[in-house]
């Protein structure tokens, strides 16, 4: 079974090697090859997940990777309920997106390269999820970071794409510093990085250290999962091809931080402070990103901010200690967010690359199927029962309230309202109303190879929540399943009427949709909108300009760094100290050379004299010693 | 010990005499055969009853009486040393050459070669390799004679090049017999077919190298009369001059015997299973003399190669073929390919 697991993880790597090395000759087959290897991976994942559902755990060290003193880092994989869930989600969603990409990327430059990158990304992601120690996880972590860099910069000839890739890379790297510090602390205190060594004896940690470790790890997660201080890379990451956005920046990679926090549950359980920080940052990010999404006109950027917001939700879930809710939302979100991005991709495909919603409208006649799946996904994310988003979001909010965080609950509910609003604003703007499509563009329905994954994901978006989230036989299946690995950390504080909570969240969702409908569909909607904008002008400006976060970062960090680098590091340190020092060294060497040059006659036999005289002296000295 | 020394001395004297007589007879036979090929009579007047058999003796006497010319600018010592080396080293090579099958006396064998060492083939190759000094010396000592110099250069380059290929060709039978001892190589062929049937490529390569290292006709570039007058021995005369062909004849004999020992089963042959010793002896000499005759035959038959053709053939054709052949032989021996 452990070899099956290894095969499952390595299968995408094989695809990557084939497409990467022989891409020149695979031509059109590249997409099929890449998808096939991912299909193999998915097929192998099914028995593994069933195995995990039966309650088995695989934890196997394939070989010893680093042995240094007492530290022994194996290359090992672990299959338990948490990673089994991730395995299922990652392989399934990636498989769908691969199939979609065959159609979407058809005819693009570097077709084989694209699939090689995608496969490599899935390989890294599987390594991240399946690793049985923090260093293997870290390799996957860095691997997905690298893959996101090359995939965002996939159109590397375009300056914005290359810049966005670099921004993503550097920003997540800032977070990785924190992650590395966390791992080093773990090595310091446990002498091992294996989960099975760390978690059973986690209670020996002093609370202070536990807080430091959890905060350091979470700082890594903020980078990778685009949480508050470090989320800025994700909207820019939309420069990459749409399947990349769907795969990396919605469904899988950005949730790595959530997975990591859930995986480190025994550590977070030790530190209420750390957990509270996670939950607070999650709540703040959820709200903050939602406000940014309210006024945007760029289709993919709205989705990007919504992703940040939804990951904020997950962070609330894992932060308050109910890890299963975060993971559950991760799973449902993977389905509907992938669906949203892919249908946005279909729209973009139809509109020949246009993403500005002001140039769309009335597309439901042109592409009815895309419109249908888009509405399904929007309903799901807005939290309308019985679609999947409803269950997971409701569980998160309910647990947050019950575990004693009413403010976070409040923020969550308001965010839910805003989510519903901006999602349906997008839907109405794009698919309803009058057509604002420019002359000469003829939007059309996407080809079947793209539509089939869309519908599969749509079905998933509808049913997944209901299957796993409805209470059966006295317990919720997903709660039971995830809690095998990461049980709920903190005791309940309040007893709340669950029906009331459900009603409140449904009302928030419906209200959001209603407001969106009122603002865009009726005849008098434009007037109403302009009145609103005039009245709440400062607020609107803030939202529209994304709270000037990029500018603030620019002034706070980039400019000073740039000035220090130029004025001090370059002009003073480099020119005056280092270069001058190097010059002096060279001058000294030159002088020494002038002195020694007397010996360097250029005549071979003179050299021979020196060599043999040296031999004579060494030999004589040796003789004197032994005498 | 004394017995060994005594037999050694006797063997040496006998071999010296035999080789000397062989050279003289060879000289006569060569002339007669060449005459026959060219539809003329050849030497006849001296001892007319014996078809001019004593002609070489007369020639030798003439050489002894002739004026021994040493060029003024010649390097006297080297000029004198060159023919000595030229006669001596082929003779030294011939010392390790078997003159017939070993004679079984009591429980031990009596070997018909003056030195019997278990690295016999290496000894012969070493001695033949040193022969090139005679030509080098002859070329350099001639005091700036261009013909001598160019002839010597050609011959030495040719010999050194073809010795490489020759050693590679001989490596195949050595590998198959797993010995460097000439007698054991023959013994290895007495149990099954001769090595020529397993190693036809090596046989052909060695045949070509045999002509080239002895500088016999299709490859007698060093002495190409039309271009070089007489090559490295242009300036030589009298007895010194005679030493070079003497060495060459002995080289031919040694080469033929190597050919017979390595590829044609030495003294093994039909109707011989070891005990009528004389039959093995006859088989051996019949084969050897056939190859000696082959040399003269080619002498009278073939036109001469051009020098670049000669070198190209060595380095671009024979060497790769030989290397591949050795690889194949090694492979076949490792996987125990069945002997046919």
């Amino acid at each position: 079974m452990e070899w099956l697991l290894l095969l499952c993880v390595l299968s995408p790597a094989v695809g990557c090697i084939i497409n990467g090395l022989f891409g020149r000759w695979t031509y059109r087959a590249a997409g099929v090859i890449g998808s096939t290897f991912l299909g193999i991976s998915f097929a192998l994942a099914i028995p593994l997940i069933i195995y995990a559902i039966q309650g088995h755990i695989i934890d196997y060290d394939y070989y010893h990777w680093i042995i240094s003193g007492k530290l022994d880092v194996p290359f090992g994989l672990r299959l338990d309920s948490l990673s089994a869930m991730m395995l299922g989600v990652v392989t399934f969603v990636s498989f769908m997106i691969h199939i979609y990409s065959i159609g979407y990327m058809g005819g693009h430059k570097g077709y084989a390269r694209f699939f090689a990158y995608l496969n490599l990304f899935v390989f890294a992601m599987l390594l991240l999820c399946m690793g049985n120690n923090y260093l293997t996880l870290f390799i996957g972590w860095e691997g997905v970071g690298f893959c996101s860099y090359i995939l965002i910069g996939y159109y590397y000839e375009k300056k914005t794409a290359a810049d966005a890739g670099r921004k993503a890379f550097v920003t997540t790297r800032i977070g990785d510093v924190g992650f590395t510090i966390g791992i080093l602390f773990i090595i310091l205190y446990f002498g091992s990085v294996k989960f099975t060594d760390i978690f059973p004896q986690a209670h020996i940690l002093p609370p202070m250290i536990a807080t430091i470790i959890t905060l350091a790890l979470f700082f890594g997660a903020t980078g990778k999962s685009a949480q508050f201080p470090l989320y800025v890379w994700l909207p820019d990451a939309m420069e990459g091809p749409t399947p990349v956005s769907a795969l990396i920046h919605a469904a899988t990679m950005v949730t790595a931080g959530v997975y990591m926090v859930a995986r480190s549950a025994p550590l977070y359980a030790l530190s209420p402070t750390g957990s509270l920080v996670v939950a607070s940052i999650g709540a703040f990010t959820a709200f903050f990103a939602a406000t940014m999404a309210l006024t945007h006109f760029d289709l993919k950027r709205i989705l990007a901010y919504s992703t940040i917001s939804q990951i904020g939700y997950m962070m609330i879930g894992v932060g308050v200690g109910a890890y299963w809710t975060g993971m559950f939302h991760l799973m449902t979100h993977a389905f509907f967010k992938a669906l949203l991005f892919l249908s946005a991709g279909a729209v973009m495909h139809a509109m020949h690359g246009i993403l500005d919603m002001r140039l769309m409208g009335g597309l439901r006649h042109k592409m009815p199927q895309t419109c249908a799946v888009m509405i399904i996904a929007s309903l799901a994310i807005a939290g309308i029962p019985p679609l999947s988003g409803f269950f997971s979001k409701d569980h998160i909010l309910g647990e947050a309230l019950m575990l004693g965080h009413p403010i976070i609950w409040m923020v969550g509910v308001i965010t839910a309202f805003m989510t519903a609003y901006y999602m349906f604003r997008m839907v109405f703007f794009t698919f309803f109303g009058e057509s604002r499509v420019p002359e000469g563009l003829h939007p059309h329905e996407a080809p079947n190879v793209m539509l089939v994954p869309l519908w599969v994901l749509a079905v998933g978006s509808i049913v997944v929540g209901a299957i796993f989230g409805i209470k059966m036989h006295g317990h919720i299946p997903i709660e039971h399943f995830i809690s095998l690995t990461s049980p709920v950390a903190f005791p309940k504080v309040y007893e709340v009427n669950e029906s009331l909570l459900i009603i409140i969240s449904i009302v928030a969702g419906v209200l959001g949709i209603a407001v969106a409908w009122l603002s865009y569909i009726p005849k008098w909607a434009p007037k109403w909108r302009s009145w609103f904008v005039r009245t709440f002008h400062p607020l609107y400006r803030c939202c529209f300009n994304l709270w000037w976060v990029d500018e603030v970062y620019n002034c706070l960090f980039c400019r000073p760094f740039w000035h220090v680098s130029e004025r001090f590091l370059w002009k003073v340190v480099d020119d005056k100290l280092i270069d001058a020092g190097v010059d002096d060294v060279g001058r000294i060497a030159g002088l020494a050379g002038k002195a020694v040059r007397i010996l360097q006659t250029g005549f071979i036999n003179n050299y021979a004299y020196w060599v043999s005289a040296g031999a004579l002296i060494v030999c004589g000295w040796y003789l004197l010693k032994i005498m | 010990m004394a017995m060994h020394v005594l037999t050694g001395v006797i063997k040496f004297i006998v071999a010296f005499a035999v080789l000397g007589i062989y050279a003289l007879v060879m000289l006569w036979f060569e002339r007669k055969a060449l005459g026959f090929f060219q539809i003329r009579i050849g030497p006849k007047l001296v001892s007319s009853g014996l078809e001019g058999l004593l002609q070489p003796v007369a020639d030798m006497l003439k050489s002894l009486w002739k004026e021994d010319i040493v060029p003024h600018r010649a390097d006297k010592l080297v000029f004198w040393v060159a023919p000595v080396i030229g006669g001596m080293f082929p003779f030294a090579a011939a010392l390790a050459m078997p003159f017939g099958p070993p004679i079984k006396i009591g429980g031990s064998y009596f070997y018909l070669s003056i030195v019997h060492v278990n690295v016999g083939i290496l000894y012969i190759l070493a001695a033949l390799g040193l022969t090139s000094y005679s030509i080098l010396s002859a070329g350099i000592a001639a005091g700036g004679n261009k013909y001598s110099l160019i002839g010597a250069q050609r011959e030495v380059a040719q010999m050194v090049s073809y010795e490489v290929v020759m050693a590679l060709a001989l490596l195949n039978p050595i590998l198959m017999a797993r010995s460097l001892d000439l007698y054991e190589i023959v013994a290895a062929q007495s149990h099954h077919l001769w090595f020529v049937f397993y190693q036809p490529v090596a046989f052909v390569v060695f045949l070509i190298c045999m002509f080239a290292t002895a500088a016999i006709v299709p490859f007698d570039l060093p002495e190409a009369e039309q271009e070089l007058v007489a090559g490295y021995n242009t300036e030589y005369s009298a007895m010194k001059m005679a030493m070079f062909p003497f060495g060459q004849f002995i080289t031919v004999l040694v080469m033929s015997s190597l050919m017979v020992i390595f590829f044609l089963g030495g003294w093994t042959g039909p109707y011989w299973d070891g005990h009528p010793w004389i039959l093995g002896f006859i088989w051996y000499w019949v084969k050897v003399l056939f190859f000696v005759f082959l040399f003269i035959w080619s002498w009278g038959t073939f036109p001469r190669y051009r020098y670049d053709q000669l070198m190209n053939m060595c380095w671009k054709i024979l060497l790769p073929i030989s290397v591949l052949n050795v690889l194949w032989t090694g492979f076949a021996l490792i996987v125990h390919l069945p002997m046919i």
Partner: protein, 100 residues
């Protein structure tokens, strides 16, 4: 006196004579030949010690020494030919292109 001493003495004398040749001769070819003698005497020491200590490794090393000597000679001769082409002499004291 041990009875391996004369053998070693011969090897060392050869080495010293070769060293003299390398150091005092002007002719590049003679220098090369003297170098060969030095190398060969080193190989001789290998063989001598192989015999007297009863291990065959020394003889193996002589094979390596011979191979290295052969390649060294080949390269040396190539240099000689090049030098002759450039300077029209094989005098080692003329081989310097510095101080001119």
């Amino acid at each position: 006196m041990q009875y391996y001493v004369p053998f070693l003495m011969v090897a060392f004398i050869l080495f010293a004579v070769g060293a003299i040749g390398v150091l005092v001769r002007r002719n590049f070819f003679v220098v090369l030949m003297s170098l060969e003698i030095m190398i060969n005497s080193a190989g001789l020491v290998f063989v001598i010690l192989s015999y007297f200590s009863g291990t065959i490794s020394g003889q193996v090393f002589f094979i390596f020494v011979a191979a290295v000597a052969a390649s060294e000679t080949a390269v040396g001769l190539a240099i000689a030919v090049l030098m002759y082409r450039v300077r029209h002499t094989v005098d080692v004291t003329e081989f310097s292109i510095m101080k001119r």
